[in-house]
C-alpha cells in the first residue's frame, strides 16, 4: 500500500511536471507560413529576422524566471537560461540584434499576437486559445 502510494505520487509528479512544461509556439491566425523547429530556433537566436513570406518578425517572450521560458529555451533552442542570456548579450551590445520583447503573462502574449500578423511567441499549451495559431508544440 505504501509502495503503491509512492508510485502514484511519483507518477502524479511526472504528469504534473509534463503538463507544466509543455509549450506551444504561436502566431497570428493570418500567418499562413510553414514554421518548423529549425526556423523557430533561428528566430529566437536572432539568425532569421523574417518569415518565409518575407515579413519582418516581431518576437515575444515570457520572462526568464518562468518555467515555461526555461523549458522552451532548453527544448527548442538547446540553451540554458544563462547560455541564452550570454548569447544574446553578445548580439544586443554589439548592434547585431534586438532581443525579444518580454511580456509578463501568457494572456499578454496571446493578445499581442492576436493583434499583429508579424508576431511570434510561446505559451504553455494550457493557455492556448482559438485567437492564435499553434505552429509547433514542445
Amino acid at each position: 500500500m505504501n509502495y503503491f502510494n509512492k508510485i502514484l505520487v511519483v507518477i502524479g509528479l511526472m504528469l504534473s511536471n509534463y503538463a507544466v512544461a509543455d509549450v506551444a509556439v504561436i502566431v497570428n491566425l493570418e500567418n499562413g507560413d510553414t514554421i518548423d523547429a529549425n526556423l523557430i530556433k533561428k528566430i529566437y537566436l536572432g539568425k532569421a529576422k523574417v518569415f518565409p513570406n518575407g515579413t519582418k518578425v516581431k518576437v515575444y517572450t515570457l520572462s526568464s524566471n518562468q518555467e515555461d521560458t526555461k523549458y522552451f529555451r532548453q527544448k527548442a533552442l538547446k540553451k540554458s537560461n544563462s547560455q541564452f542570456k550570454s548569447y544574446w548579450s553578445k548580439l544586443a551590445f554589439t548592434g547585431k540584434g534586438t532581443p525579444a520583447t518580454k511580456l509578463d503573462t501568457a494572456a499578454d502574449i496571446i493578445s499581442a499576437i492576436k493583434k499583429d500578423p508579424k508576431a511570434i511567441g510561446f505559451v504553455n499549451v494550457k493557455d492556448v486559445s482559438s485567437d492564435v495559431k499553434v505552429v509547433k508544440n514542445y
Binding site: A48, K49, T94, T98
Partner: protein, 365 residues
C-alpha cells in the same frame, strides 16, 4: 532667404520632435566587478617594471602584488532608441575602474535596416578585429575572466565610420557578413603612451577598410576577417618616421572556429597583423571548456609572437589559464581564473613572467 532657412530649420526640428515622441527608449547594461593580484612575477628589470600581470592591453589593466579591484571592473549602460521602420540610435557609455570610472562613449551610432538582409550603421563603433573585440567589455557574454590578453593587444579599439551588414540563410547555415570603412585618431593612447613609450602618444589609424564573414550552424561557427589601415604616430608631439615616411601600412587577418558539443566546447582563434617595419604579429588562442549544471570549468592557452626580417627579438609571450565560471544567478556569473604568463623577449619584454589569480562577478541587465 533668412525666412526660408528658418522654415527649413523649423520643419527639421518639428520632424525631429515628432520622431522623438514616437521613439521607444530602452536601457540595458553590463557590469563587471573584479579583483586580482600577482602571486609571483619577475617584472622587467631593465624597463623598471615591477612584477605585473597585464590582464588587458588596450585599457592597461595591470595587476601587481597587492589585491586590486580597479584594473578590470567596469560599468556599462546601453541606450537604444527604436524609432520604428528599422531605424535605431544606440549609445553605450562605459566607466572603467582603470580610468576612475569616468564614463566614455564607446559606441554611438545609428542603425538602419534597409531590408531583411541589409543593415547600414554609421557613427562610433568598436573595431571588430578579433572574435571577441566588439563585446570585449561584456564579461557575461564569454567564459573567461577576460578575452585572452596575449591576443587582444590592439592599440586602437574603436572607429568612426560606416558599417554595412548582410545576413542570410544558406540551408542549415547562417551567414552574417559586414564591411566597414573608418578612422580613429586617439590623442592620448593609453597602451602606447603609458606602457610602451612612457610619453604621450597620439595614434592614428586611417583609411581603415575591413570585412568580416561569419558562417554558423547549430554546433559550429567560423569567422574570417580582414582589415587594412594606414598608421601615423606622434610620440611626445614628435612624428614617428618609418623608412623615411611618416606613415605605414598594416594588414590584419584572422580566423576563429568554435565548436559546441552540448557539454564540451572548443574556442579557437588565429590571427596575424602584418605591420610594416614591425614584421608579423601572430596571435593564437585555444580554449577547452566543459559545462555541468551551472558550472563551466575551462583551460586556455594564448600566445603572441612577433616575427620578421627587421625583427631580431620581437614581442613574444604566452599565457596558460585555468578557470571556472559559475552561473549562480539568471543574469550573473561568478568567475575565478589562474593565469601563468611567460614573457620570452628581452628587448620587447612587456611585463615579464607572472602567476596571478583574479576573480569577479559579471552581470547583464
Amino acid at each position: 532667404m533668412k525666412c526660408i532657412s528658418f522654415i527649413k530649420y523649423a520643419t527639421a526640428a518639428s520632424c525631429l520632435m515628432s520622431v522623438a515622441s514616437q521613439a521607444e527608449i530602452n536601457f540595458s547594461g553590463f557590469t563587471s566587478v573584479n579583483a586580482g593580484k600577482v602571486l609571483s612575477g619577475t617584472g622587467v628589470e631593465h624597463y623598471n617594471v615591477p612584477p605585473t600581470f597585464l590582464a588587458d592591453y588596450p585599457i592597461v589593466s595591470a595587476y601587481n602584488e597587492e589585491w586590486a579591484m580597479t584594473p578590470e571592473s567596469l560599468f556599462g549602460i546601453q541606450i537604444t532608441a527604436d524609432l520604428n521602420d528599422g531605424l535605431t540610435a544606440i549609445a553605450q557609455l562605459v566607466g572603467r575602474g582603470a580610468e576612475d570610472y569616468s564614463p566614455e562613449f564607446e559606441w554611438a551610432y545609428l542603425s538602419y535596416d534597409i531590408n531583411e538582409h541589409w543593415t547600414v550603421q554609421a557613427g562610433r563603433k568598436r573595431l571588430p578585429l578579433f572574435y571577441y573585440s566588439d563585446f570585449y567589455d561584456v564579461g557575461y557574454a564569454y567564459v573567461w575572466m577576460r578575452a585572452p590578453a596575449d591576443n587582444y593587444t590592439w592599440q586602437i579599439f574603436n572607429y568612426n565610420g560606416i558599417n554595412l551588414m548582410y545576413n542570410t540563410d544558406v540551408g542549415e547555415w547562417s551567414l552574417a557578413a559586414n564591411m566597414y570603412v573608418g578612422k580613429e585618431d586617439d590623442k592620448e593612447n593609453k597602451l602606447l603612451g603609458n606602457f610602451f613609450f612612457g610619453d604621450q602618444t597620439r595614434e592614428i589609424w586611417k583609411d581603415m577598410l575591413g570585412g568580416v564573414v561569419n558562417l554558423s550552424k547549430d554546433w559550429f561557427e567560423s569567422r574570417f576577417t580582414y582589415m587594412q589601415y594606414t598608421n601615423q604616430r606622434y610620440v611626445g608631439g614628435e612624428k614617428t618616421m618609418w623608412g623615411g615616411l611618416d606613415s605605414r601600412k598594416g594588414k590584419f587577418f584572422g580566423a576563429a572556429f568554435n565548436m559546441d558539443f552540448d557539454d564540451w566546447f572548443i574556442l579557437s582563434e588565429i590571427n596575424r597583423l602584418d605591420l610594416e617595419f614591425d614584421g608579423n604579429l601572430d596571435t593564437n588562442m585555444l580554449t577547452l571548456g566543459y559545462r555541468f549544471s551551472a558550472y563551466t570549468p575551462y583551460v586556455a592557452y594564448s600566445s603572441m609572437k612577433q616575427k620578421g626580417d627587421d625583427v631580431m627579438d620581437g614581442e613574444n609571450h604566452n599565457t596558460t589559464s585555468i578557470g571556472l565560471r559559475w552561473d549562480f544567478h539568471d543574469s550573473a556569473a561568478f568567475k575565478v581564473q589562474y593565469d601563468k604568463v611567460k614573457d620570452n623577449s628581452h628587448d620587447f619584454a612587456v611585463a615579464g613572467d607572472s602567476k596571478s589569480i583574479s576573480f569577479g562577478i559579471d552581470l547583464v541587465f
